[in-house]
Subunit: 351 residues, 2 copies
């Protein structure tokens, strides 16, 4: 392997000088700088990250913990974050927690000793406080921190549940005049599950609130189930047996919505003619089905960018902000994708 010493020798300077050049300190004569740069390029020099990290505590490697990469929501977020970091010559370690709360905490704990500069996390049900208790002053940015306000400890980048759900409900009620809207994915009672509780609770409530603002006040708008594909299939069958008492099903995420559409298809119920279906997230699969899924496309790229910016800030003035200021929650943008599961239009139009 080619080390800084090799570069230094090749360009006739000391290791310290070479190091200064590589770090971009402008305390070196332009002439020397050029010599060193050339030698480095010629030798294909790349700084040894272990050594740098050991000495300076800075590795330019970050860690992302997600519950699962098979879930397209996390896969797309990971993809964007990796790209964003790579563009800044940073690397990303991706760890999969498999929705295991304790495993996740253990992963966070071992981070202190790893060479990673900071943690991005889509937590599986650990609150900011839980994570803080093992991460200490380690730099952390959360995605969709679902902690209750009192348990938030870190800056977080959030999906626009309120604005998104409002737009979606308006789309259904105002643009398409749906009269019997069901909100699919309200809370399954599980008191131990207090984090997930918060996000679900919020998103459902926003949907309900938007419904009321549209002058809608029927009871039984809430349909209780988990936020996954199989739950969607089951709910669809269940509702079909009841004679489908809704003309629109506003699902709390895409995975669930695709399950619902699948289930409806199995029961011979036509979307959107008999019932409209909507999702939330904007994962790719939603454009693969027939009909394609109307959904809220979350700005994944924006989430990744915002998160890296927050991380940068956190690392730069480490001591200053950490203790004093409240954790921030930054909500990213979204786009309402009007597709076939709500619009009876020509299929080619809205792909």
């Amino acid at each position: 392997m080619v080390t800084l010493k090799d570069v230094a020798e090749a360009s006739g300077v000391s290791v310290s000088t070479a190091s200064a050049v590589m770090r971009g300190l402008d305390i070196v004569k332009p002439d020397t700088t050029r010599k060193v740069r050339n030698a480095a390029k010629k030798l294909h020099y790349h700084a040894n990250i272990s050594a740098r990290s050991l000495r300076s505590g800075r590795s330019n490697i970050f860690t992302l913990i997600v519950p699962d990469l098979e879930n397209q929501y996390y896969a797309e977020l990971s993809n964007c974050l990796s790209n964003e970091l790579l563009a800044q010559h940073k690397q990303l370690i991706i760890q999969v927690s498999q929705y295991d709360k304790d495993k996740e905490i253990e992963q966070v704990r071992s981070l202190n000793a790893s060479m990673s500069d900071g943690l991005f996390i889509c937590s599986t049900n650990n609150s900011g406080a839980d994570i803080k208790s093992v991460a200490g002053d380690y730099p952390v940015i959360m995605f969709d921190d679902m902690s209750a306000a009192t348990e938030a400890r870190y800056d977080s980048v959030e999906t626009p549940s309120q604005a998104g759900m409002t737009a979606m409900i308006r789309h259904l009620c105002l643009e398409h005049d749906r009269k019997r809207v069901g909100i699919v994915g309200t809370l399954v009672e599980d008191p131990s599950n207090r984090i997930s509780y918060t996000l679900r609770h919020n998103r459902c409530n926003f949907a309900h609130q938007a419904l009321m603002e549209c002058g809608y006040d029927r009871p039984n708008t809430f349909i209780t189930c988990d936020w996954d594909h199989n739950s969607g299939i089951a709910i669809a069958h269940h509702l079909a047996e009841e004679g489908m008492p809704y003309d629109a099903l506003c699902c709390m995420n895409d995975d669930l919505a695709l399950g619902v559409m699948r289930g409806l298809a199995e029961c011979g119920i036509v979307v959107p003619d008999q019932v409209a279906v909507t999702g939330y997230d904007g994962i790719t699969s939603g454009s693969y089905t027939s009909p394609t899924l109307t959904t809220i496309a979350v700005d994944f790229k924006g989430m990744a960018q915002t998160a890296t910016e927050l991380m940068q800030q956190k690392i730069l003035h480490k001591d200053a902000s950490t203790r004093t200021s409240m954790p921030r929650r930054i909500i990213v943008g979204f786009q309402l994708l009007r597709r076939e599961s709500t619009c009876r239009s020509r299929p080619e139009a809205n792909r």
Copy 2:
């Protein structure tokens, strides 16, 4: 941060003894071992990976380069590999090459200086020889090495194109008696694209060969297009306009097949009644559509396991095998998922 020195002091031994214990060398008295272990646990000691890596050249961190994580094939493979490694207390850095050949080579080159112990790669069109030229003796395992035989340089874990395609064609021709089978996804002429050429070429040829073995010898079985969703949509429209001269479309991967199904739906052609459609890969989306997609489910977990085993071997006897033996190609298992896109059966049966 808590260091080995802290552990040593807490347990009243020297740093080297503590190190020996942590590394599991059994040259330490059981009594001493116990003391050190307890202290380490009590202090939540985790070895500093930078230091270990710097000194010993072993970090237990590996790198995976994939073209893209939005592509479910790569996402699921990444997921499995991450899990497999994590179970062995190893970590995985995932880099996304964005299908950029040169970027990928640059990523490989900078690996020498990184703290990573080895590379797993789903290459974007770089041959084994290309990678070898920048990676040197760095340990590399390839997924689906598409190099021509003369350019293979590394052990590779491969998707079972031949067995899978044979099973699929038999499923179509023998089980379902389809008479006009189209092989969708044969080569788009692109001489610069010599790697991708090989895999595509092979998979198509295996399909064709299987067709012939089923006593099938019509001309015009090959339908030329790229292996992605949009190509599938386009091809479907094109074939529909020609009056759909096939009763089965054997697509070279799932992404393409899902596009074809989508396109057929847009044209009002019913699958599988008018034409059967099959995929290859076994990505999750294939069970989200209606009809669900008949496909070859590649054993992702097996791929990940095999790859880590090969990596382990490569690292253990680094000098011995590297030069002497030929690169191995290990082909993993698969499962033919008979689903609705070929079987007219009750939809509930084959989810």
